[in-house]
């Protein structure tokens, strides 16, 4: 326990996860994890430092470097854009295609004969959030070889967008769309309790990874490599 506290005291205050309002939450989480990990490894509480280092690794405390270098060897491309994935969401017509895709999904679900309107809206919301989570926050790297020697291999598409610059137009758009979907779904499900719980959990799974504080963070080491 004392090890945890000394470690905590030594952390530089610029660490992003400790800024409010998430600071206390994460501190508690850390303490919890230390205790749990100690229990898991069967050691005395606060005995040795395995738990703390495990927490550190698991939470990847520290910022992923956001500066990018554009000096690279470009093989097979006709432009000096190192990672085309960063620009895909900004290209012309992409936002429109995305909205049309959601519309298409909704219409397909509406055409199921036995599904009522609230169920359809909840399903749309769930499937949309699931696909968004999988494509933006689960799949890592690029489907083609990039000249940047693998800098983006461990980054999800959300982290690759605009080379990690936060609050760009596409990022704001992709954050607002699930929220708008959620509001519409809440309306059409007439604020039913079960639908509310399901939709809120789904919205949280899609909003939390988009926080700038969670850039490059892999909780419990899930999806790290």
């Amino acid at each position: 326990m004392s090890d945890t506290l000394t470690w905590f005291a030594q952390l530089p205050r610029s660490q992003s996860i400790f800024t409010p309002p998430f600071g206390p939450f994460f501190v508690l989480l850390l303490l919890q994890k230390t205790l749990v990990s100690d229990w898991l490894t069967g050691n005395k509480v606060g005995g040795n430092n395995n738990g703390i280092t495990w927490c550190l690794c698991a939470l990847r405390v520290g910022r992923t470097p956001r500066s990018r270098t554009k000096v690279t060897m470009n093989v097979g491309t006709a432009h000096s854009e190192v990672n085309p994935n960063t620009r895909v969401m900004n290209s012309r017509g992409m936002w429109l295609s995305y909205i049309l895709g959601i519309g298409l999904l909704h219409i397909i679900l509406l055409s199921i004969p036995f599904a009522s309107v609230p169920v359809v809206w909840t399903l749309t919301n769930l499937i949309h959030n699931l696909c968004m989570y999988l494509l933006l926050h689960m799949v890592k790297g690029t489907p083609f070889e990039t000249p940047d020697q693998g800098k983006a291999r461990l980054l999800t598409h959300w982290e690759q967008m605009d080379y990690g610059v936060q609050f760009t137009a596409s990022r704001k758009f992709l954050t607002i769309t699930p929220i708008v979907m959620y509001i519409l779904t809440s309306f059409y499900t007439k604020y039913d309790r079960i639908h509310f719980v399901v939709n809120t959990v789904s919205l949280l799974t899609v909003l939390i990874p988009k926080l700038p504080q969670l850039h490059g963070v892999r909780i419990f080491g899930i999806n790290k490599y």
Binding site: T77, H79, R92, G93, W95, G101, P143, F144, T168
Partner: protein, 544 residues
């Protein structure tokens, strides 16, 4: 919003950076002392064509370029196309994983399944699921001279392009619209070929050493003097490989503490050379002089990144003709900027030397400028001269420095004698020094062919990128399936073209690239445009 021409920031920023929220009011505005006319803000509704030259007093002839934007419907359909291909790609991967379908891709051995994986299977996704399906459009074996017409070895594939078998037949007289054969010097008969044969009999074909050691032949000296005369510079140096000219000489010119301002669409050799040099690299938007000026001003005002010391030198790296867009650099404006801000200019005329200008002198000749304004003129012999290799021309001190400090000169074998002779002969023909009018005829034929071909395709309604005078003609295809369809349909009609798609080009700008040559006759160009129309009717092309 997504990028549309009306929404792209006028200041030439690569992406819209959110400011600190303060709005620039009229009272707080600092008067801009920029050299080039800055387009005013909020002029979007009036600004129909952002490619209109703002500083026409610098240009002696009209500079007309067009890069028509992707129509919105086409963009949406293109994304849908890529989406469907991705879904099918995942399906196929699933089938391959469970051994329902035969897997042709390299995989880890059974004994090494528990090791760290050797192959990144996601990075290979695009290659195995999209590229492999249309792979028969590239790497076609050419048997014979790739002149205006060429012979191709016929290949078939029984496993969807994973392996090819040669049937043994040769497809004869395929019209070659893909070779960079601008002046038609890719031929095995004629004065160039005879001279090259004689030189091979005299010198042999190999040199066996580098320029600095024992590989400096008198034919190299003659070639370099000829190049210097052709370009109108003091001195020049020739290298055996065009790519190596860029990548080995830029490190000799700049180093740490220098700044390289390079165009967005610069070739891989320039990017590699800039990277190897260790200088700071900043990229300005393609052919956008406002962006370049902004970068220059920022660089000079703020200096090096952390120390704010002045830069040791600033080198602007541009190309004469950009081969993927067909655009010509705005050289008068670049030179005006370079003079004002005291930067150096490195001009890569790989595609434009011999192809532009009334005397074939490249983009400097085309704009009627003084070659002494360009500090380093670089070019290659691969395109217009039908040979191989590159050159650098400039002041005598610069070239003497490069002779002893360039990596190419010290470590790379010098140019082969028959290649050097081919360049000498072809350059003399272009300059008219061989006594005939063949050079002038070819230059005229090339420019006539370019104008005719571009006009013909434009009248047919295709979307063509680039400058009206550039012999590189990209024809937009946009959708991924059309890339394969176009290449194959054209081959069925005996025309060979180069098609390019994502990720070499932006995702919604796949294209087919035609390279007009002086060796093409008008009938050939008519056939090509007619076949293009037939193909478009079959595959429902995008018309403007």
């Amino acid at each position: 919003m997504t990028e549309g021409s009306a929404n792209k920031p006028f200041t030439g920023d690569a992406c819209h950076r959110s400011s600190n929220g303060k709005n620039a009011t009229k009272n707080g505005f600092v008067k801009s002392h920029c050299l080039l006319e800055q387009p005013q803000k909020y002029r979007r509704t009036k600004e129909k064509n952002p490619n209109v030259t703002h500083n026409s007093n610098l240009y002696k002839r009209p500079f007309v370029e067009s890069f028509e934007e992707t129509p919105l419907l086409v963009a949406v359909l293109t994304y849908m196309g890529y989406g469907i291909l991705t879904i099918f790609g995942y399906l196929r991967d699933f089938l391959r994983h469970w051994n329902i379908e035969k897997c042709h891709v390299a995989r880890d051995r059974e004994q090494q399944k528990d090791f760290v994986p050797l192959y990144q299977d996601f990075e290979n996704f695009y290659t195995r699921n999209l590229y492999m399906r249309i792979r028969d459009n590239w790497n076609r074996p050419v048997c014979g001279v790739p002149g205006a017409k060429m012979d191709l070895a016929e290949r078939v594939s029984y496993d969807y392009n994973w392996t090819f078998k040669h049937t043994g037949k040769v497809v004869k007289d395929v019209i070659n619209m893909g070779s960079y054969n601008y002046l038609g010097f890719a031929e095995n008969v004629g004065a160039c070929a005879d001279a090259a044969v004689d030189v091979t009999k005299k010198y042999g074909s190999g040199v066996g050493s580098t320029r600095c050691e024992i590989g400096n032949l008198d034919i190299h000296e003659e070639l370099e003097q000829l190049i210097a005369r052709f370009l109108g510079v003091e001195s020049s140096m020739a290298f055996g490989m065009g790519f190596a000219t860029n990548s080995m000489n830029i490190p000799a010119l700049t180093g740490k503490g220098c700044l390289i301002l390079s165009d967005e669409l610069n070739h891989a050799s320039l990017v590699l050379g800039a990277r190897l040099s260790g200088s700071t690299i900043r990229v300005f938007k393609h052919n956008n002089m406002q962006s370049l000026e902004k970068l220059l001003r920022d660089a000079i005002v703020h200096g090096q990144p952390r120390t704010h010391r002045p830069w040791k030198k600033i080198l602007i790296v541009v190309e004469g003709i950009y081969s993927m867009e067909g655009s010509i650099v705005r050289l008068p404006e670049v030179i005006a900027l370079k003079k004002r801000y005291k930067a150096y200019l490195y001009l890569d005329e790989a595609h434009s030397i011999g192809a532009l200008g009334p005397h074939g002198g490249g983009v400097v000749d085309y704009f009627g400028l003084d070659p002494n304004d360009v500090d380093i003129m670089m070019g290659t012999f691969t395109k217009s001269f039908g040979a191989a290799g590159g050159y650098i021309g400039g002041k005598k001190e610069l070239i003497d420095y490069l002779r002893s400090h360039s990596h190419s000169a010290l470590y790379a074998t010098s140019m082969s004698p028959p290649v050097a002779q081919q360049i000498i002969t072809s350059m003399k023909i272009i300059m008219g020094e061989d006594g005939s009018t063949l050079g002038a005829d070819r230059l005229r034929q090339l420019s006539q062919n370019t104008t005719y071909f571009r006009k013909k395709l434009w009248d047919m309604g295709f979307i063509i990128y680039g400058n009206d005078d550039s012999p590189v003609v990209p024809l937009m295809l946009y959708m991924p399936a059309k890339i394969g369809a176009f290449g194959r349909e054209m081959l069925k009609r005996n025309i060979g073209t180069v098609v390019v798609g994502f990720p070499a080009t932006p995702i919604i700008e796949s294209r087919a690239r035609f390279c007009v040559s002086a060796a093409h006759t008008r009938e050939m160009l008519d056939i090509v445009s007619l076949c293009g129309t037939h193909t478009s009717q079959n595959t429902h092309f995008i018309h403007s």
